[in-house]
């Protein structure tokens, strides 16, 4: 052997054996991974990414900053602790942001979103959305009286288009894209003039927004359309600055004459006061509460949904408990956990004797009786749920028999359904096979001779069972319990049908938020919390039995 330690062993192909083996091992690993890869990729795309997208949804809150981009920035300076309202600048940004949003019909979505945090905001946004045109017309009418050209869409186009404003155009396009979720790509047929953008910044900005929307969404030609009321409001505001008025005096480009007319008749224009205009549209706008809410939820990511999901709320003063009468989720989580525990408990009580019997009977009898366990296991969930509906309803089989036997008065039939009782009975039945099967597979491995040995050593039946058999069956109880518990806390169909209002689970609330209230963020947050609970249990399951040891009823 001494010579092999001197020289490395050589494989058939002349390479050192060690290297050759390492190569074979590497190839084997690669082949295994190549076999697994397609499925792993498939599960990643069709399952893991959707779950991650749900987690993302539960904190995502870009709607506020997408809908009111400038307002949110301007509002950062404001201190909600003071009793003063935000200044005029914020209201001005709000007007232009909201005007765009209203054109795209996105303002009511924002209203709905903020309404989750502060009731009443939905109607504030809706009402205001209808008044935005009027707020601009105040300036449009006098401007058109001052100079006829302001009525003309082509005139506006000529006045504001030019060169050098590509950057402005693209930045406005990006904001539109964020607002609508479309790419808003395409040739606009309009480039704002950089000169105008310097001289009349608000007008040019509003007009550029108008141009993008007109071309991309309404598929019209910019020059042929009359601009939005917001453009007039922008001009009116721009004219307020003395510097602008001075610049116009020395300006000689397109539309100079009309602009000079407007400067000359400046006193005919009403004073620009967006704060007053919003106050008139809906007085909520001049309350600090509203602005505090907007400010708190202007971040792109918010813990708000999660806080809502545990009956807390994010207020300007910090995290607070919700009012008593709105606290439902903690109670619902507790009820879900409690009912899942009760169901798991009843499954143990009913499943343990049956599993014991099956494990201790001769093979042939056990296999026959096993069919009685497997048949419900294989039967459609909907079938079993409808069976329980037939049995439990007030005119159902159980009540009919009890009335016939005289144990229950016909007028006072038992209410077994549409409450927690119904859910517990039906779900115990549905999940019982999931308890019996793991219990059975564990009990099958316990040699019956142990019990006989214990008895021959003088133990009573009870002692032999409790001290010898039971401890060995505990892994089965653990496996079955975790399986049943995990399945139970995520159940939706059965509680929905037999649960009524008292017997529903957190999952029914998630489904409600997805399909009825459309508060998807909250649904995602509730789902994420449930997911964490399940993953913790799953981890425990892995520790106790190992994922590889999951057995199906075959």
């Amino acid at each position: 052997m001494s010579d092999t330690t001197q020289e490395p062993m050589i494989a058939a192909d002349g390479r050192p054996l060690k290297q050759s083996l390492a190569r074979a091992l590497r190839r084997q690993k690669l082949r295994a991974l190549a076999l697994i890869a397609p499925l792993l990729l498939f599960v990643m795309v069709t399952f893991i990414i959707p779950i991650l997208s749900m987690l993302f949804r539960s904190v995502e809150n870009q709607i506020v900053s997408n809908t009111l981009p400038h307002t949110v920035v301007a509002l950062q300076e404001w201190d909600s602790a003071q009793s003063e309202l935000p200044d005029e600048e914020v209201f001005r940004h709000l007007y232009f942001d909201l005007f765009k949003a209203a054109e795209a019909k996105e303002h009511s979505r924002l209203g709905t979103r903020l309404n989750y945090e502060k009731t009443g905001l939905s109607s504030v946004f809706r009402t205001t959305g209808r008044r935005l045109d009027d707020m601009g017309e105040v300036f449009q009418d006098p401007l058109e009286d001052i100079n006829e050209n302001f009525k003309n869409g082509a005139f506006w186009y000529e006045m504001l288009s030019g060169e050098g404003g590509e950057e402005l155009l693209e930045s406005r396009r990006t904001l539109w894209a964020r607002l609508t979720g479309d790419s808003m790509a395409g040739d606009i047929g309009f480039v704002p003039s950089s000169q105008m953008a310097d001289m009349l910044p608000w007008t040019t900005r509003a007009y550029t927004d108008f141009a993008i929307w007109t071309v991309v969404e309404e598929e019209d030609v910019v020059a042929e359309e009359d601009p939005w009321e917001a453009v007039y409001a922008g001009l009116a505001y721009d004219l307020q600055s003395e510097e602008t008025r001075a610049n116009i005096a020395s300006y000689g480009g397109p539309g100079a004459e009309a602009l000079k007319d407007a400067v000359a008749n400046f006193d005919k224009l009403p004073k620009v006061d967006f704060k007053a205009a919003f106050a008139e549209a809906k007085e909520d706008w001049v309350t600090t509460d509203l602005w505090a809410t907007v400010q708190v939820f202007s971040a792109d990511y918010t813990p708000g949904y999660f806080l809502n999901a545990v009956d807390l709320e994010l207020t300007p003063e910090g995290v607070q408990a919700k009012p008593e009468n709105q606290q439902i989720y903690m109670q619902l989580f507790m009820r879900t956990l409690w009912m899942a525990l009760v169901i798991t408990g009843s499954c143990i009580v009913l499943g343990y004797p049956v599993a014991w019997l099956l494990a201790n009977l001769p093979m042939r009898t056990a296999n026959t009786l096993m069919i009685l366990v497997l048949l419900p296991f294989w039967t459609s969930l909907l079938v079993r749920t409808s069976a329980w509906k037939v049995l439990l309803q007030q005119q159902g089989v159980i009540n009919d028999i009890l009335v016939w036997l005289g144990f229950v008065d016909d007028a006072n039939r038992l209410i077994l359904m549409n409450n927690a009782t119904g859910t517990i009975i039906a779900m115990t039945h549905i999940l019982l096979p999931f308890m019996i099967l793991p219990l059975y597979s564990v009990m099958k491995t316990i040699p019956p001779s142990y019990l006989r040995a214990a008895k021959s050593l003088g133990a009573t039946n009870w002692t032999a069972f409790w001290r010898v058999y039971f401890p060995q069956s505990v892994p089965g109880i653990g496996a079955g319990s975790i399986l049943v518990f995990i399945l139970a806390i995520g159940y939706y169909i059965t509680p929905e049908i037999v649960g009524g209002t008292d017997g529903i689970f957190i999952s029914n609330r998630i489904a409600y938020h997805i399909s009825s209230s459309l508060n998807w963020g909250l649904a995602a947050a509730l789902g994420s919390i449930l997911l964490v609970v399940v993953l913790v249990l799953y981890w425990a399951y892995d520790k106790i039995v190992g994922i590889d040891n999951v057995k199906l009823g075959g």
């Binding site: 076999l35 004797p353 093979m363 079938v383 409808s386 075959g554």
Partner: protein, 406 residues
Amino acid sequence: MSVLNPSVPKPDLYRFTMPVVAVLGAIFGFITGNIFGSPAIGLVLGAIIGAALAAGLDRITGMDRWKKIWGTAAVFAIAGLIAGGVGGLVGGTVVGVSMGWFTTWISSGKYRASVPSYYTAGQVLWHNTFLFICAFVFFFLIAPLFPVAWLSFNAEDFFTFTPEMLAFKAEGYSLKHYADFLGSDEWMVPLKNSLIIAPIATIISVSLGTLAAIGLSQSHVPGRQAIMAILISPMIVPLIISATGMFFFYAPLGNWLQANLGLNQAFVGYVKVILAHAVLGIPFVIITVTATLVGFDRSLTRAAANMGADPVTTFFRIQMPLILPGVISGGLFAFITSFDEVVVVLFVGSARQQTLPWQMFTGLREQISPTILAAATILVTISILLLTTVELLRRRSERLRGMSPG
């Protein structure tokens, strides 16, 4: 006679059989008396009848046990028919069979047949009580399915038994719900959708799942635990969470497919539901196939390779036939998962992809008609057939591996 206890002594008639049967008689008497509003009288009468029955049956010797039981049942059934019509007939038969069986079981000493002879009375009592508890649990598992099948023949559009049905009159029964089920688009379209979606989803999960299971069963797989956890996760994550996640992700995915690949909306709808169902079925395929591969003898593939077969031939000619039972039973699980799935399809699908469980769910929630029960009965029949298939496959696989005596 039992091996444990070849000579069962016959218990004493007066000190044991009569009192025990009297107790059961008293219970039935109490219940029967309750129907007529006088449970106390029923209790006493029942006890007397029970004791008399025990004494009577004990006197008759040389008669087959089952003849005694059916004779008792007939007497009780006729008494029930006279007292309470058809309901009484059924009730009387049930009580008669129970009483007859119980009496002969007690009086012949058979109740001790399956326990060792050294058991005390208390131990025998517990042993038999335990068997009754197990029987009750089996009853609890199976019994709920029967009213469904029975009610599916209801002639009325109710979810409840009509007096005609309980009186077993022909006019109370009809096949119209089956005709409804088979003859209306309302049910046939969902059934067709289910039969499109489930098989395709099954094929996807079985083909990808089997490949991956073979990969996973190799001896050196880096990150095996993590990969396994990911692949099993669709089974562990509650359906409602999977459905929520898919709801958020599949809608933009569908829009993207429509916009960029120019597929039509209905097709994309099916693709979404099929993908969702396929991923839900994968854990079942992985688990069953890896379990089958544990018992697979690797030297067989080496032998095949040794004789010049390439890996593909080895797979199809050697490995596949041997693991086929596992693959098929995994496929059946995947099929059932998809065929029975409602939460995900509710969230991901649109009205055009309505499946059978979805239609049943809507029907149950709005309680439209017992056509649901006809559908349910058909599904139970299908699941019995599937169960039989799996059981036969299991036995075949065990026979092949020489693990089972039969």
